[in-house]
């Protein structure tokens, strides 16, 4: 599948978030903490946007049976994954909507931390962020399993779904690092 512009934008977002996380590791104190929060924020924004994109693909597949937003043939494609009526939803809710809601929560937690790093609730928010990220991990594992083994004509890899999965993993790493900073006194 050719790299299209939205996919390149999402990959660039993941690269920026990863670079910020690496940069944060080498910085001490408040500066490093702030950079790590920025990294998690970028991961969550990429997750939000890629989830929205998969939801748009879902709608266009329903509407016309095909989508110009992603390929429908080959190993790397969306048609057989997002278009599979049996696996493209969680209790009737499209995975794109589930992703949007989940990443909204993660975005809120990190945005709150970013806006007031020294708040009384900052420590509990780092814990909530880590727990919320961990809660999403089984779904990522399940969805990768579905892509590779369950959908029609499996295995398939949906690139935009993979971006969302990587966003969650990246966010989780940032949340873990932040919690470590808080507990070891490196927060500020």
């Amino acid at each position: 599948m050719a790299l299209d512009i939205p996919l390149m934008v999402f990959i660039a977002g993941l690269a920026i978030a990863s670079a910020l996380a690496l940069q944060a590791r080498s910085k001490d104190g408040e500066d490093g903490t702030r950079t790590m929060i920025d990294s998690g924020l970028v991961f969550s924004v990429v997750g939000l946007m890629s989830s929205g994109w998969t939801y748009a693909i879902h709608n266009s597949l329903l509407d016309s049976g095909e989508s110009s937003m992603c390929a429908s043939e080959g190993l790397v494609q969306c048609g057989s994954v997002i278009g599979d009526p049996e696996w493209n939803n969680l209790f009737g809710i499209p995975w794109g909507i589930t992703g949007l809601l989940s990443f909204s929560l993660l975005f809120f937690l990190f945005l709150s931390l970013r806006m007031d790093m020294h708040a009384k609730w900052a420590e509990s928010f780092t814990t909530y962020s880590l727990l919320a990220g961990l809660a999403g991990l089984p779904f990522v594992v399940f969805l990768i399993f579905v892509e590779l083994t369950q959908v029609e004509g499996a295995p398939h890899i949906c690139p935009f779904c993979t971006v969302a999965h990587l966003s969650l993993i990246g966010f989780l790493a940032a949340a873990h690092a932040l919690r470590g900073r808080k507990q070891s006194g490196m927060w500020a």
């Binding site: 408040e30 924004v45 939000l48 946007m49 929205g52 994109w53 939801y55 748009a56 693909i57 879902h58 709608n59 266009s60 329903l62 509407d63 016309s64 049976g65 989508s67 937003m69 599979d84 009526p85 049996e86 009737g92 794109g96 949007l100 909204s104 975005f107 809120f108 945005l111 709150s112 806006m115 007031d116 790093m117 020294h118 708040a119 009384k120 609730w121 900052a122 029609e152 500020a188």
Partner: protein, 225 residues
């Protein structure tokens, strides 16, 4: 005695910014959702008239052997009213239900009259009623009208009214599709336009001429047979 000064720890803001963060989050998420709606508007999926029929990907028996079947493969998305394309009858039955047993004859008649313009699909479910145990063998026998004890609870499938059915029968004995179709009971049959939009649902009699059944709906909507 000189007082020791404690190092001043950084303090958080006096105002709670979480409400502001929640509002910003809501705004960002709303903007993304609006962009999605502009790119690809939401398609209403359901069994009601005017909605896109719920799709399913299941195993189907068309005589001889079972194979993959996906309802949406029958849809012609470029269909326009008055244009060419096969309409679709989706019928739900339970092979142990006496009403479904009797409807076998009506379905044979409808199929022989409309098969040039209408594709028939029968989905077999197993209602949670004592004695309504079914199996793929029973589904095959019900469709093919071959000897098998157990149709209509304790009748021989070969005695089913009507002819052997030549259209596809779907295995939904685990009721994976009936929730999406809001199945009210069996038998149930809906008529879909060639593009997959539900055109007639017997559960919405207010939208139809008085007392209209499937046969009348076919005449009114498909016509010309």
């Amino acid at each position: 005695m000189a007082r020791r000064r404690r190092a001043a720890a950084p303090k958080g803001r006096d105002d709670d910014i979480r409400l502001m963060a929640a509002l910003v989050t809501f705004g960002v998420t709303s903007m993304i959702l609006m962009a999605v709606m502009l790119l690809a508007p939401v398609v209403k999926v359901g069994p009601s008239e005017g909605e896109l029929a719920p799709d399913f990907s299941v195993q189907a028996y068309s005589g001889g052997e079972w194979g993959d079947f996906r309802l949406s493969n029958l849809f012609n998305k470029s269909w326009a009213p008055g244009g060419d394309g096969n309409w679709i009858v989706v019928q739900y039955i339970d092979t142990d239900c006496p009403y479904c047993w009797n409807e076998g004859e009506l379905m044979s008649q409808l199929h022989s009259q409309w098969n040039q313009k209408v594709t028939f699909v029968t989905v077999v479910v197993e209602l949670g009623i004592q004695g309504h145990d079914s199996s793929r063998g029973e589904v095959e026998a019900f469709r093919d009208k071959t000897p098998y004890e157990g149709c209509k609870t304790n009748s021989n499938c070969a005695d089913r009214p009507g002819n052997p059915h030549s259209w596809v029968y779907i295995d939904d004995l685990n009721s994976r599709t009936s929730g999406d179709w809001e199945l009210p009971g069996t038998p149930f049959a809906a008529l879909l336009q060639p593009d997959g939009i539900v055109a007639w649902n017997p559960q919405q009699p207010g939208n139809h001429p008085d007392g209209e059944e499937m046969e009348g709906a076919l005449q009114r909507l498909v016509g010309g047979s």
